[in-house]
């Protein structure tokens, strides 16, 4: 039976609503309103995890999102399992199951704890230094290092929950609903601004809402009561939207912010069904008010990481807000007045404060006097030099500080305790401000970075701006809001504030010890186990830049991004290297402020919506006929149609043979189609293609090659002259959008004088391509009114026609080398035309073929595929396509580059055909080509770009690019493979029907 450490009831906790949960296999009870951390503390459980490197026992340290230690695994062994959840943030619900991470077999007895005793052998950079050699051993090391590294376990099944994205727009966004945020939101909303107030916690009011002491009053009311009235008022304002459990993850330029709204994580499991779990809010705000408050700093001394050591402010919050005592004999250790607030509050609730250790000498403070009046012993000018207790702190040792704070003097005294609260002052939470591009300045008097230059219409107010005390906040907020929002008045003129807080502070980054620095473990980054010693070592080894020290020691690189210890790391660097804090700067704060789930990031873009795809109008037919699909750009294209359990190879062989022997049919709808009109259309084509267009007769088609200005092949396709000033251009499937973009660019920026209009009509037409010796017989049945005779309708020409009442365009063009027709028809009729062709082709065994067969057929003919046989380094000359480059035209895109000193080199890689010595051996695409295997190093001449077994030629064929290949016809080359080498001969890239007889057959 564990102890129950509940103190007086609190507003947040509903003691009538008991909740049971499991932690490390044991059942505990908490109340509605508890976080996992507060419920565990109420059960006197401090030890919740093991540290990352030394496996030291660690306890709950904070009460917020900055928690470095208490990170747990939720929902073990389910698809909902989630690692690295901060126990201080997750609200308990009936059925919660959580466990510690990074320990085995258990958090109480962890084998890895041996690392703690080996720690002298594990300095910063240990892994870099140790596992360098021999390099062949790395694979062995890696297995063990990976096994011992890492924190939680990620789920292995898909996430079953629902996530959403939502766009939001507002006039004023207020981040943080502490006292400053509440006041700002009220002022903005009451002055008519559409206002959004976001708070990461489940309640409004920040730390003021549990400030019940007589020492802090506003207008003569205790500050929490005053604020509660304000909160009740703002809840009624219509143009103010308040979102709790919503954490701003990123603050980008132009006031664009991302926030994560948590909707169901606090609900009992049975109430979450069919509800959105988390929402990613994409917020565009005209003005942003950042009121993110501040984080209490720890103090850095020997063994400052034991379970039972918490931030003083966290102890205060657990007592006041959650009604939980963190111990029965609490000691506080401080360098400022904050710990006395905790002391007074604990005393009020009957929790024993055994002692307060204060770095400072005598300070005139009402809070201290009140503390002493209540018989709490204060040690002034003292520091802690050590703590003891393995799984829970049980005592501290203190010594007096020298005047300069550099040494300890006098004798050591030990005090027994079960909990220690530490307070090193406050660090403004400037993370979001700096993410937005804001520049900080360093305030020497209390050693803090505060906002200085704002990059957008925004302001930081309250503690995140370095105004830590109630007096400072309330005396400045009225004018700040008036000026920023450009409003006449707020409700906060002439507030009467009473505060006993004295601002004095004695800042010592690394507290002195009676031991040598090498003998102490003073943790700066708790999550990554980086100590002050590690930082000093990094400096000794020559690291100077704060960014380098960070990476070498891993300070600030955990899931908490070092929210607690980064300032101390900077301080220690500054002191050791004798440089100024302001000049050192800070490390970069990167989004997200707190970790996001992958679910939130992707939202609804999962499964088939992950990357949307385009379907042709004939897609359903392909599915019905069991096509396998391939992704081409965003399109799903039929790849091949396996029959009766065929594999891909067999299907492609069958389809390829059928297309040449009788008839094949291909869905070519995905090819890009650009409609070009205007009196300068011909001139325009002259300028964008390498060949000449002016003399192309109406009704004729021509193949064109398009270059980039650097002379490299960019796209290709057939363009048809529909009328005097009207063309239709086809592009590659993947290149359609960029080709249109490029043509528009030239028209608008270089040649605005040309009268040309471009329209993308890719989606408007379906294209059915019928090829093979029997293609004419088939299409003439589908379009009986059209004269298909060679005289009327020769190769490379086009006809307007009708199928029934429906207009269509028929082109006699070929990418396979076969006699072939393409029927272009309004997209809605695509499937019916396809089916008509299938019906008419039945007697000819018309065979649907996919992209793979198309690729094979065109390779037999030596036709290139832009992007497969070319990359962005191939000119038309490299492709042995000199014939398509006009010598007569004065200019076209890329022309000048074709005779740059580099592009005219003879030994550029050039496209050639490759035939294997053994005609049954098929090369691997991408395989390297060499001439001399014995030469060292082996010189790579090029690589194979396309390779197939041709069922029509009954041999293996391939295309490849080879350095100087143009002049190597007949030469023998070698393709070295893993276990063999393949001998090939350089050949003409046209393997089949060099005379083009089949086109006109």
């Amino acid at each position: 039976m564990t102890k129950n450490l509940r103190v007086k009831t609190s507003k947040l906790i509903d003691e009538t609503y008991k909740i049971s949960f499991k932690f490390n296999g044991k059942t505990y009870y908490g109340y509605k309103g508890d976080t996992l951390a507060s419920a565990l503390l109420a059960n006197d459980v401090h030890l919740v995890g093991r540290s990352f490197k030394y496996h030291r026992p660690r306890g709950i340290m904070t009460a917020g999102s900055e928690e470095p230690n208490a990170i747990v695994q939720l929902h073990n062994n389910t698809s909902r399992t989630e690692p690295n959840v901060r126990a201080t943030e997750i609200e308990i619900y009936e059925g919660l199951i959580a466990s510690s991470q990074n320990c085995w077999p258990s958090v109480n007895f962890d084998i890895g704890g041996i690392n703690n005793f080996l720690s002298p052998l594990l300095p910063a950079g240990f892994y870099y230094k140790t596992f360098m050699w021999p390099s062949s051993f790395w694979k062995k090391y890696e297995y063990f290092i990976r096994k011992s590294a890492g924190l939680g376990k990620s789920p292995t099944k898909p996430d079953p929950d629902i996530y959403e994205h939502k766009y939001m727009h507002c006039d004023v966004l207020v981040i943080g609903a502490g006292i400053s945020g509440i006041m700002a939101a009220k002022a903005a909303a009451k002055n008519g601004f559409k206002t959004l107030l976001l708070e990461e916690k489940s309640y409004l009011g920040g730390s003021t809402i549990y400030q019940n002491s007589e020492h802090f009053k506003i207008n003569n009311q205790i500050s929490s009561s005053w604020l509660e009235k304000e909160i009740n008022e703002i809840k009624k304002i219509k143009n103010l939207e308040i979102k709790i459990r919503t954490s701003v993850a990123a603050f980008h330029g132009y006031n664009f912010l991302l926030a994560r709204e948590n909707l169901t994580d606090h609900l009992p499991l049975d109430q979450r069904k069919n509800k959105t779990r988390q929402k990613l809010l994409k917020i565009r705000a005209k003005k942003v008010i950042t009121a993110t408050g501040s984080l209490e700093r720890p103090l850095i001394f020997d063994n400052n990481d034991r379970p039972g050591i918490l931030l003083s402010s966290a102890i205060n919050k657990y007592a006041n807000l959650f009604g939980v005592a963190c111990g029965e004999k609490i000691i506080l250790f401080t360098n400022n007045d904050s710990a006395y607030e905790t002391a007074i509050n604990l005393n009020q609730k009957g929790v024993k404060v055994a002692a307060i250790i204060d770095n400072r000498e005598e300070v005139d403070s009402k809070l201290i006097k009140d503390t002493e009046k209540n018989n709490m012993k204060v040690y002034k000018g003292y520091t802690i030099v050590d703590t003891s207790g393995y799984r829970r702190i049980n005592s501290i040792s203190i010594m007096q500080l020298s005047k300069d704070g550099q040494k300890v003097i006098g004798t050591k005294k030990t005090i027994v305790c079960d909990c220690l609260g530490i307070s090193g002052g406050w660090t403004p939470a400037v993370h979001l401000f700096t993410q937005s591009g804001g520049k900080l300045k360093f305030r020497d008097e209390d050693q803090v970075f505060i906002p200085n230059i704002y990059p957008s219409d925004q302001i930081s107010i309250g503690a995140c701006n370095g105004d830590f005390t109630l007096n400072e906040i309330l005396s400045t907020i009225n004018n700040k809001l008036k000026e920023f929002l450009n409003i006449k008045e707020t409700d906060y003129k002439n507030l009467d504030v009473q505060s006993s807080y004295n601002k004095s502070k004695r800042n010592i980054w690394l507290l002195p010890s009676d031991k040598a620095i090498g003998k102490t473990k003073s943790f700066v980054d708790y999550q990554n186990d980086a100590t002050a010693k590690d930082i000093k070592l990094a400096l000794r080894e020559g690291f100077r830049s704060i960014e380098h020290v960070k990476r070498y020691t891993t300070t600030g690189m955990g899931t908490d991004q070092g929210k607690l210890g980064n300032m101390h790391a900077l301080g220690i660097i500054s002191e050791t290297s004798d440089s100024k804090m302001g000049e050192l700067g800070t490390t970069t704060f990167r989004p997200p402020y707190t970790p996001l789930t992958f679910g939130t990031i992707v939202g609804r873009n999962v499964g088939e919506y992950f990357d949307i795809f385009r379907k042709t109008p004939i897609h359903d037919w392909h599915i019905k006929n069991k096509a396998e699909f391939e992704n081409v750009g965003q399109w799903k294209r039929a790849w091949f149609y396996p029959k009766d359990g065929e594999n891909m190879y067999d299907a492609v062989q069958r389809e390829s043979k059928a297309a040449r022997d009788s008839a094949g049919i291909l869905d070519a709808s995905t090819l890009g189609k650009i409609d070009i009109q205007g009196t300068d259309a011909s001139e325009f084509l002259n300028r964008v293609y390498t060949n000449a267009w002016s003399k192309l007769a109406v009704g004729k088609c021509r193949y064109g090659l398009m270059l980039n200005e650097d002379g490299m092949v960019y796209d290709d396709g057939v363009t048809t002259r529909l009328d005097e000033n009207h063309y239709i251009m086809t592009t590659t499937t993947g290149g359609a959008a960029t080709v249109l973009g490029k043509l528009e660019d030239y028209l608008q920026t270089e040649w605005p004088e040309l009268d040309v209009y471009l329209t993308s009509v890719t989606d408007h037409y379906a294209t059915v391509s019928v090829c093979g010796p029997n293609s004419k017989k088939i299409v003439s049945q589908v379009i009986p009114d059209l004269d298909f005779s060679d005289e009327n309708f020769p190769h490379m020409s086009f006809k307007n026609a009708k199928i029934g009442k429906i207009k269509c365009r028929v082109m006699r063009i070929s990418f396979t080398g076969e006699h072939s027709y393409e029927i272009n028809i309004q997209a809605n009729y695509g499937k019916s035309v396809w089916e008509k062709c299938m019906e008419a082709g039945k007697e000819f065994n018309i065979t649907p073929y996919g992209t793979e067969t198309m690729h094979l057929l065109r390779a037999e003919k030596g036709f290139i595929i832009v992007g497969q046989d070319t990359d962005a380094t191939m000119t038309p000359i490299d492709l042995q396509m000199d014939w398509i480059v006009s010598k007569k035209k004065y200019d076209f895109i890329g022309k000048r580059s074709l005779y740059r000193s580099d592009t005219i080199k003879e030994d550029r890689k050039q496209l050639v055909g490759l035939l294997t010595e053994n005609p049954d051996e098929v090369l691997e695409e991408g395989a390297q080509i060499v001439a001399d295997i014995k030469k060292s190093p082996v010189e790579m001449l090029g690589h194979v770009t396309s390779s197939y077994y041709s069922p029509n030629l009954k041999k293996s064929i391939a295309l490849g690019v080879v350095r100087g290949g143009k002049n190597m016809l007949g030469q023998k080359l070698i393709i070295p493979m893993e276990n063999k080498q393949i001998n090939v001969t350089v050949a003409d890239p046209v393997f089949l029907d060099k005379e083009n007889k089949r086109l006109n057959a």
């Binding site: 132009y254 200005e709 650097d710 660019d745 608008q748 270089e750 004065y890 200019d891 740059r900």
Partner: protein, 91 residues
């Protein structure tokens, strides 16, 4: 993500636009008369300024018009937008 004031459509999210590199690089009228070095200057050499830079942008998911933007590349602040062919503002 910044906001760009398209001279044809007004203010829109950056995601609707595509950047097109440095502005006011005119394609030579007579490329064939240029030396390799002169052509390379046009083809490859860009200033890539840290600071105020004149750039081309296109409203690719909108009106598809090209225009010019004056942007401070160090903080993404846009100083001006103007149509193709218009005189650049003095900044």
């Amino acid at each position: 993500m910044f906001i760009i004031n398209c001279p044809y459509c007004g203010e829109r999210e950056q995601s609707e636009f595509k950047a097109g590199g440095e502005a006011h690089i005119v394609r030579p009228k007579q490329p064939t008369e240029l030396s390799d070095d002169q052509w390379a200057e046009y083809l490859f050499m860009r200033k890539n300024i840290k600071g105020v830079q004149f750039e081309r942008w296109v409203h690719v998911h909108g009106c598809r018009k090209w225009f010019n933007v004056v942007r401070d590349t160090s903080n993404d602040m846009i100083k001006a937008v103007y149509k193709m062919g218009e005189k650049p503002p003095s900044i």
